[in-house]
């Protein structure tokens, strides 16, 4: 089988606008998978559909025909013609297809580079495909390699570690102040979406309690319930500040709700334990001068955006390192594919048998006192054993009538039975 028979075809956020992407929705993955099974030119295939991409990874002997069939399937529900569909899709073949898949799995092709969901989505797509026996030797190997590449990228680079959203940047800063967030308490003043998100992040990172202080107590109680915390009236703010470690503020108040002179006595009551203020509100809730107090750290939306920008830059650098890992893994897979052809397998099998024979003959002959002609006949005899033993396995491999997929399966089977890929 040639590498060029591996193909990836699809649309993503870079090639198609959302107006086009939203037409390609596949709520039930069963449908495209059974349709793909019915197309004459897709041998092995896997169907991946996420909010930013829809793509089919498949192997085919006739790339052009196969691609056309897959496009027809993807755009079937829309009125987009095949020539137009061609503009919105990417078609990668051979090495490019392998690299593309690895980059997708490692989250290098994502809208937010490094976001972790894509690997799970790819795993799910693969699980669905295998459950319906849509994949074979080649795609199994290819997609497993995509998983291990993604894992390597995660562990060897910091691509996933830096925060690229405002709410996550707040968590990152909190960790620089408090170390582990376990046991820390959060006070949520006001109830904005971003503040809720930040509180949620802080909770998953180990914070134990969320207290909600809201102007209307009713709404506060509701929100507090969703975090499993308690609600207090906004007038209790200063009382609560003596107890908590982090305050996220996002009230719709037109003026400042907290000033430096209010926080100063609170710090005394806190015995100077650090206090971290996150002000997400616009206009701001918290007096910027609060930041001048010792052991108090105040960040507003602009400060947090600055952290996000810095993280984006860092992530870009890490992406470069990740690309190197992808290239390495790509080369390894190509080597494996080369070996998956018939001739290299046969010669590897013969070589292995010959090596075993020679080693064993040498061991035995060394201990015996034999003449030249005796040695010769021992060599002859052992060679004959090897040849006869390999005769049927080789016939089995070379069988003419088997289709390409069957041959791949046989090759993989033989390589495994004789341990040709070990060591």
């Amino acid at each position: 089988m040639s590498v060029e028979q591996i193909v990836v075809l699809g649309v993503n956020h870079k090639t198609a606008p959302v107006a086009v992407r939203e037409k390609l929705t596949f709520p039930d993955i069963e449908v495209p998978l059974s349709q793909l099974a019915a197309t004459p030119n897709c041998r092995e295939f896997c169907f991946l559909s996420t909010c930013n991409r829809v793509e089919v990874i498949f192997t085919t002997a006739a790339v052009d025909k196969g691609a056309k069939e897959v496009r027809a399937l993807l755009f079937g529900a829309s009125e987009i013609s095949d020539s137009e569909a061609k503009e919105y899709t990417y078609l990668h073949q051979g090495e490019a297809a392998i690299r593309h898949l690895f980059r997708v799995g490692a989250s290098l092709d994502s809208m937010v580079v490094g976001e972790p969901q894509i690997l799970g989505q790819l795993k799910e797509a693969y699980r669905q495909a295998t459950a319906r026996k849509c994949t074979g030797v080649i795609l199994n190997k290819l997609i497993h390699k995509a998983f291990s590449t993604a894992k390597r990228v995660r562990s060897e680079t910091n691509i996933g570690s830096s925060a690229v959203s405002i709410s996550y940047a707040a968590v990152q800063l909190a960790r620089k102040i408090f170390g582990r967030l376990k046991g820390k308490k959060v006070l949520l003043a006001g109830a904005g979406e971003m503040a809720e998100l930040a509180a949620e992040h802080l909770l998953t990172q180990g914070c134990t309690e969320v207290i909600v202080a809201n102007r209307t107590l009713e709404r506060g109680v509701k929100l507090a319930k969703s975090f499993g915390g308690k609600a207090v009236p906004l007038s209790d703010l200063e009382e609560q500040l003596a107890m908590v470690d982090i305050m996220v503020s996002s009230t719709g108040a037109p003026d400042l709700i907290l000033t430096k002179s209010q926080v100063k006595p609170i710090m005394k009551r806190r015995r100077s334990r650090p206090l971290f203020f996150i002000d997400i509100a616009v206009p701001r809730d918290l007096d910027p001068e609060i930041n001048e107090l010792d052991n108090v750290y105040l960040y507003d939306v602009d400060d947090l955006s600055q952290v996000v920008e810095m993280n984006k830059n860092e992530r870009q650098q890490e992406a470069t390192r990740a690309e190197r890992i992808v290239a390495e893994e790509c080369a390894k897979l190509l080597a494996w594919l080369d070996n998956m052809a018939l001739t290299p397998t046969i010669s590897a099998l013969r070589r292995k048998a010959e090596e075993i024979r020679l080693a064993e003959v040498q061991r035995s002959v060394g201990r015996m006192d034999l003449s030249e002609s005796e040695k010769k006949s021992i060599n002859k005899m052992t060679s004959a054993i090897i040849n006869k033993l390999l005769h049927h396995p080789l016939l089995y491999l070379k069988e003419e009538e088997c289709n390409p997929e069957e041959r791949q399966r046989k090759l993989a089977e033989m390589r495994r039975v004789f341990g040709l890929d070990e060591g």
Binding site: K176, F178, G179, R271, S272, P274, D294, N295, Y297, D303
Partner: protein, 269 residues
């Protein structure tokens, strides 16, 4: 073990720590840690060599005192690392050790034998305990310095080289407590043993010699810090500042007194 070899081993370890600090390559860190351990062991050999050459505890010349100071920093750090880890702490400590060793390298290594009157069992006890205390207080100083740098980055919202590499404020604050809780009792013990030795050698427990006075000032500074931490619950920036000031007093007791003022301790030059 000649001092020069020990010095080179430390210099290599420090260089590796600095390379690690900038590159954050964990393989370099492993090498740096191992090399520091080797340097620490060589240093033990160096000190033993001086002991054999002098015939008494080698803490009576300036070279030996500073060298022993560096030794106690190294082993205080290694003993800490064995228990818990602080991100990039090693680089700061290694640089401090290297500075101390450079001072030791530049001062005379000539052997001076102590007058018999001062040769007492209290010499090794007093000097070793006092300088051992300095080792832990030096670590506290490094931690305090790191705290102040990190605090400044968080306050000014400047996220440069240090912000990324330094640990959390809370972690550094704990380090401060740890160093103080070991360093302070040792310092106290150093002063007590010193006054016992003074009684034996000169007949008086305390004679307001400048070194004694400055030890007392240092002790009071650290006692104040400990009191504030335990009784009032001081933490954070003020503790860090006081730790740095306390260590300046340690250094003045060690050097300032010898070079600027004179007294009964002045043989230690």
């Amino acid at each position: 073990m000649p001092f020069a070899i020990t010095y080179i081993a430390y210099a290599l370890a420090t260089t590796l720590y600095l390379v690690f600090f900038f590159s954050q390559n964990s393989r370099v860190r492993t090498m740096a840690r191992r090399l520091l351990l080797v340097a620490g062991l060589l240093h033990c050999g160096t000190i033993l060599g001086r002991y054999l050459a002098m015939g008494h505890t080698p803490l009576t010349t300036h070279h030996d005192t500073v060298s022993f100071f560096a030794w106690s920093c190294t082993w205080a750090f290694l003993s800490f690392r064995w228990r818990y880890r602080i991100k990039n702490f090693g680089t700061f400590v290694a640089v401090l050790i290297q500075l101390l060793l450079t001072v030791a390298l530049l001062s005379s290594q000539e052997i001076r034998v102590l007058p018999p009157a001062l040769q007492s069992v209290w010499l090794p006890i007093h000097a070793a305990v006092a300088i051992g205390a300095n080792g832990f207080l030096a670590l506290g100083f490094c931690g305090g310095l790191m705290y102040l740098i990190q605090d400044r980055a968080l306050k000014r919202k400047k996220f440069g080289l240090f912000y990324q590499r330094l640990p959390s404020l809370e972690g550094l604050d704990q380090l401060n407590t740890h160093c103080l809780s070991i360093g302070f009792p040792l310092l106290t013990l150093g002063i007590v043993t010193g006054s016992i030795w003074a009684k034996q050698a000169w007949g008086a427990y305390w004679q307001w010699d400048p070194k004694e006075t400055w030890s007392l000032i240092t002790w009071l500074l650290y006692a104040a810090l400990l009191h504030q931490r335990l009784a009032i619950g001081w933490s954070g920036k003020r503790s860090a500042i006081l730790t740095v000031i306390g260590f300046s007093a340690v250094l003045f007791t060690l050097w300032g007194v010898n070079f600027l003022l004179t007294g009964v301790h002045s043989y230690v030059r």
